[in-house]
Amino acid sequence: MPPPPDQPTNAAGSDAAASDDDLHRRGRWLAWVVILVAAGAAVGVLQVTGGLETVPSPAPSHGAGLRTVPVGEPVDVGPATITVNGVVALSDLGEVVGPPDEGKRFIAVSATVEVIDRKTWDNLDDSLRIAGVPGITDTDPGEARLIRSSQRANSLQPGLPVDVGVIFQQPLSSPVPRTVTVTLYCWQRTETEFGEWWWEAERPCAEVTVETEDRTAETVAAPSPSPGASR
């Protein structure tokens, strides 16, 4: 039987209710979609940022600014500590090193190096420069030698500190500097997920100002060649 014309129809009521239900259903779906998208985004962000993993302390920021270090104080350059002990001007370093190039003298930085890395280190040459020396630019590389044997200091071992001289050559036409500024370079450690690591991207990180000891008038006694070496 059709409804009286002055009463709202059940069909109209049920349409409104259905529309209301549909709206709520869509709202629920929308809420779930938002939640899932938010969860996905959160997982993505956590994956990228490392989530709640413990973050290791950042490595010391070498090279952020040069600090001035007194003579005799060790500087951690990453794979090793370098202690600058003095600077000497010399005209001769003995037979093993040989004479300086024609018209030049040696400027030698004496230092103690202790490898604190777990691996043999071979980059001392690139870890030390000098400034304030007429005739030598602050980018000229030096040549590191073991003071004990005058041999090249290019395989320094963990647990065996050594005294070294890092040698530069200055034109004789330039005066022996009263002081020399020794710049130490610090290295950044890079590590792979396989546990391998290396040191790279050296940057100036410390300066040591040293008075030069002028010993250019002295002659260095030549080391004796290998005595009676046997197999």
Binding site: P158, L160, P227
Partner: protein
Amino acid sequence: MSRRRLLHVASGIVLILLALAAAQGLDRLRPSIAHQQGSFVRSAPTGVAVDLRLASLTVTSVRGSQTVLTPDSRYTAVTDGVFVAVRVKVVPYTEPVAFSMLEARDEAGNRFLPTTLAAQPIATGVTFQPGYGTEGEIVFEVPAESAPSLRLWAQIPAIARADTVADLPLGIRPADVAAWQASSETLVPHDLEVSP
């Protein structure tokens, strides 16, 4: 939103978080890439060859001193530790091989590369031909306290992932180290010996 719906949504969120936590837990149980692709470490005592897939490697003897002849054979270098000369024999199987790693390791985790203070005829990058056995010494400079736990590590492929690495104990006794330190004899590395 009714209380029932709120409960419904909240329980959904909790379930998602629980699923994420479970996934995170499972992820932690997964072996690391280093573990999945790690090297196959093979060991052998002195005198016994170890198979490195492309060649065999044998530590034949070990000796030491505090003084070593420098590469130019004119001077000597002295150490506060000891120079350890590890004599090895390399026999490639079917093709020329070269080592990508030769180093000595101690129990503290220190890794010593062959010293530049001595001649090193057996070194990384040196090619060994198949059909021949080549014997020679590798000289390391190490602290005296490291010597007794020293082991020779060697690998042939440039990337050792999922490939063979030799880990050879050198069998150095503290008495050997004491004798080397007391000796005044200069260590002169042997020349290479090639045998068919």
